[in-house]
């Protein structure tokens, strides 16, 4: 849905790094290099960004009537 605020395993904040990660990977950069640049060292935190699928922007249209 939406990027979690913290890593599920170690609790490091990763939510703030999502938009830069997404932007740079979409521009064709290697995710491994982007993660290294962002200073995400442990594999628990790296999988948070690597495996995340941002669904919320698609879900927002299917809300209850305002």
């Amino acid at each position: 849905m939406l990027i979690p605020v913290r890593c599920f395993t170690c609790g490091a904040v990763i939510g703030d790094k999502w938009e830069e990660f997404k932007k740079r990977v979409e521009q064709g950069e290697d995710p491994e290099k982007v993660l290294d640049d962002l200073g995400i060292k442990r594999y628990c935190c790296r999988r948070m960004l690597l495996s995340h699928i941002d669904l919320l922007p698609q879900v927002i249209k299917f809300t209850r009537p305002l």
Binding site: C7, A12, G15, D16, W18, P57, I60, T63, R64, L66
Partner: protein, 271 residues
């Protein structure tokens, strides 16, 4: 006891503590995780939420956002038990948000939160809280208070708090035939051959894996560790500087030791 800083930046600190016991270093490690207080959002009053996420999910996300913590001006969680968030500014900091999305896909960030205390604000400004469609509204008041990691992990100031032994590599230069196998086998790049001699480049990055010991045919390398020295690594969430976390943990340990001493004195007087 001697302490030396091996590495330090804004988020992490690595300390070499010599001439001490494992129990002492472990006490500091555990206190850093569960007893050093920080500020975190604890109560949220939603006035309006027409976003796709439930109130509870947004409240949970808000709680996990680290806040810059001012330990001097707020009362501890024990003193504030049962206090009303609205009427006790010495216990609670009020943060609020009032937005209505003007277009689809408006992202609300942690930096959009407005705080009544300028010293208390989210450490990171670009954590997404929710995404809104056009016309959706989100209005809430959030109250942050001091708490401890043992109550909920959102109050823990650390993400990593770990200690390890100081490695000791013994090289028998008479047996060593400079084959270089150990240099290649080491996953942490600790060893190096320089001027026809095997030297240790950085002993502190050794993980005691013993790969060098295994590949050494003449059995010239022996991996062991020092009994009274430890490396303590602390990584902060950003709520407190890492050196402050160690300092606060030591202060809490001191206080607990004093309480223990007093208790023992009282007990021995009763006899």
């Amino acid at each position: 006891m001697k302490t030396r800083i091996l590495e330090k930046d804004s988020k992490t600190i690595k300390l070499l503590i010599e001439d001490t016991s494992l129990a002492f270093v472990n006490a500091i490690r555990r206190l850093a995780i569960s007893d050093v207080p920080t500020l975190a959002i604890d109560e949220v009053a939603f006035l309006d939420n027409t976003s796709v996420l439930y109130d509870e999910i947004i409240a949970h996300r808000l709680g996990l956002i680290p806040l810059t913590t001012d330990l001097e001006h707020y009362k501890s969680s024990e003193e504030c038990e049962g206090a009303d968030p609205i009427t006790n500014p010495e216990c609670y900091v009020r943060l609020f948000l009032d937005v209505e999305a003007k277009e689809d896909g408006t992202v609300i960030y942690s930096g959009d939160l407005k705080s009544e205390d300028p010293a208390v604000k989210p450490v990171y400004d670009n954590i997404p809280i929710v995404v809104l469609a056009k016309g959706q509204k989100l209005t809430f008041e959030a109250y942050a208070r001091l708490g401890r990691g043992k109550e909920h992990i959102k109050w823990s100031p650390v993400t990593v708090s770990a200690h390890k032994y100081v490695p000791v590599l013994k090289i028998n230069f008479e047996k060593c035939d400079l084959c270089g196998k150990c240099v290649k086998a080491c996953p942490k790049d600790v060893l190096e051959i320089k001027n026809d001699k095997l030297i240790i480049k950085n002993i502190f990055s050794c993980t005691l894996c013993r790969a060098c010991e295994e590949v050494c045919e003449p059995q010239a390398i022996k991996v062991s560790w020092a009994e009274d020295s430890f490396i303590l690594t602390i990584e902060s969430t950003g709520a407190l500087p890492p050196e402050k976390i160690v300092y606060e943990a030591a202060k809490i340990l001191w206080k607990k030791a004093d309480e223990m001493e007093k208790l023992i004195e009282e007990l021995s007087e009763g006899e």
